[in-house]
């Protein structure tokens, strides 16, 4: 497939007063990608989307959408986008069906009531078509926001934390919708701080931290490139410096009550761990081995955990 750049962000710096929210960010999203922005609270994800959406004017740098400069022709760039903002705020004195009709019309797309129903069906909202938006539950409102985002049949869809208020079941349903949108040939950019979401959905991920992109690649390449070792997980209380001194161990830490040990050869490390524990009269329980994931990548790149351990 011929590569076609849909979103091109070049060296963007954005600020709110004295606070720098984005610092020299560049990225390029190709046609047909599901592109993830992964980062902790306050990293600058929403600000980055806002500068693509034409809602935030960067202090420096250029943003192009479909080859058109956002600054030079914001109406033309907005026309190509379907948008879901992090804070869902629609015209909530309208019914679900009215809302979809109005938002499509704002793009000069005029839907028949049949088209509105088939759109609502995708989001399991048909029964709610005549319900006022403000009477929907939080999860339903979030699904409505997604329906509204694609009401204008956009080629590019920007979703800011599309699953943050959803239960696990609804979250999977949204993942399915995102995959469908992708299968229809649309380009999707989404933000998340859930690494399993980024891993499950995104072809490429930019890891963003404190206003900078610290890495950008496919999930597997991000993990492979850092040559992270397997993670050994177990319940046992031992001094970390002693654990770190065990053979083949490259890092060790506690997350909650779990000891996590990064090891090039987990079987060797595990034997040594058992011995160490036995010497102080303790036992190693709940042993599990897991492959390194994006969480580990983030930790490695930034020295901090993506989500505060809970």
């Amino acid at each position: 497939m011929k590569q076609q750049s849909m979103i091109d962000v070049k060296n963007v710096t954005a600020a709110y007063g004295a606070l720098t929210a984005l610092n020299g960010v560049s990225l390029n999203v190709q046609k047909g990608e599901i592109f993830g922005l992964l980062g902790p609270n306050g990293a600058g994800k929403t600000t980055l989307l806002a500068s693509v959406e034409g809602l935030h004017k960067p202090k420096q740098g250029d943003v192009h959408v479909g080859g058109i400069s956002v600054q030079a022709d914001p109406v033309a760039t907005k026309r190509q986008l379907g948008i879901q903002l992090q804070k869902t705020a629609l015209l909530d004195d309208l019914t679900v069906a009215e809302l979809v009709e109005v938002y499509a019309a704002l793009y000069e797309v005029y839907l028949t009531s049949k088209e509105i129903d088939s759109l609502l069906a995708r989001f399991d909202l048909v029964e709610k078509r005549n319900t006022l938006a403000r009477r929907l539950s939080g999860g339903q409102q979030q699904r409505l926001a997604l329906a509204v985002a694609i009401a204008n049949d956009p080629q590019i869809v920007l979703l800011d934390e599309p699953t943050s208020a959803l239960d696990p079941h609804a979250r999977r349903a949204v993942w399915d919708i995102v995959r469908q949108l992708h299968d229809e040939g649309r380009t999707i950019v989404l933000t998340t701080h859930a690494m399993e979401e980024a891993e499950a959905l995104c072809g490429r991920i930019a890891i963003i931290d404190r206003g900078q992109i610290v890495a950008c690649d496919t999930p597997s390449a991000l993990i492979a490139n850092l040559k992270l070792n397997s993670m050994l997980k177990a319940t046992v209380e031992l001094p970390l410096d002693q654990v770190r001194a065990l053979p083949e161990v490259s890092a060790a830490r506690y997350t909650g009550q779990y000891l996590e040990v990064e090891s090039a050869r987990p079987e060797v490390t595990l034997t040594a761990l058992h011995e160490l524990a036995a010497r102080s009269g303790r036992s190693v329980r709940d042993v599990a081995l897991r492959q390194p994931n994006l969480e580990d990548v983030f930790l490695k790149l930034t020295g901090r955990a993506l989500v505060e351990s809970n």
Binding site: L85, D92, L94, A105, Y107
Partner: protein
């Protein structure tokens, strides 16, 4: 054009479905008539034009901005800003709905006056009065737009609007006659926005004629309307101040 119509329909529905907006827009003007009627039922011929102007004033300065401020605060305007809808269309559609509401309010007041207090109205009087009411509404709403623009929150907009409303109400020859005011104030009041509307609407409704100074009054209102619209447009914000 179709976009504008669909948007305007949506704006209308929103105004009709919001209980708070509905009360202040439609129940309050009638209530105002009942209150004034209870105090001075025999002067209602004279009072009704004043109630129309006072109502237009509070509507223009305060109530007509309520929904817009609510949308700004909730982030709805920001969501709209992300669409290709031009700001002029959004504001135009909003103003259109509110001008219609303002005109309906004056009609409600007149109907209440006729039904409750047998207020005398003539076709000629109404024909002259309505353009005058419209001039007033437009000037007051534009001033309300400035208030929305300078206020960080909708609460402060209401406070500023109500303060100006009460000041103008007492000094604009509607509650107290002008010659009760100190001399210096008597000289200032004719140049404030409420007084000319009161003069124009009153002579239209009571005598079915134009006020002798109609030209000055209308020019003044146009100046207020156009000037305030210009400033309000400059001050328009998609987001609340943080």
């Amino acid at each position: 054009m179709k976009r504008f119509l669909i948007l305007t329909k949506a704006m209308t529905l929103m105004h009709l479905r919001n209980g708070y907006v509905l009360f202040w827009n439609f129940a309050f003007p009638v209530l105002l008539m009942v209150i004034y009627g209870a105090i001075m039922s025999q002067f209602m011929d004279y009072m009704t034009p004043g109630v129309i102007v006072l109502n237009a004033l509070s509507f223009g300065l305060v109530s007509s901005s309520t929904m817009m401020l609510e949308m700004r605060e909730k982030g709805v305007l920001r969501r709209l800003q992300a669409t290709p809808l031009p700001a002029v269309q959004l504001i135009g559609s909003y103003l259109l709905v509110n001008i219609v509401i303002g005109v309906l309010q004056s009609a409600l007041i007149i109907v209440a006056g006729v039904l409750l207090y047998k207020v005398n109205v003539t076709a000629m009087g109404l024909l002259i009065a309505y353009p005058m009411i419209l001039f007033g509404l437009l000037a007051f709403m534009a001033l309300g737009g400035i208030i929305s623009g300078v206020s960080a929150k909708s609460g402060s907009a209401t406070a500023i609007g109500m303060t100006i409303y009460f000041l103008l109400m007492f000094i604009s020859d509607m509650i107290f006659p002008l010659d009760m005011l100190p001399n210096w104030l008597q000289n200032v009041v004719p140049y404030l926005p409420a007084y000319p509307v009161a003069q124009l609407v009153r002579s239209a409704m009571l005598e079915a004629t134009l006020d002798p100074k109609w030209m000055t009054h209308i020019l003044l209102l146009l100046a207020y309307g156009i000037g305030a619209t210009f400033i309000a447009a400059k001050l328009f914000r998609w987001e609340p101040k943080t």
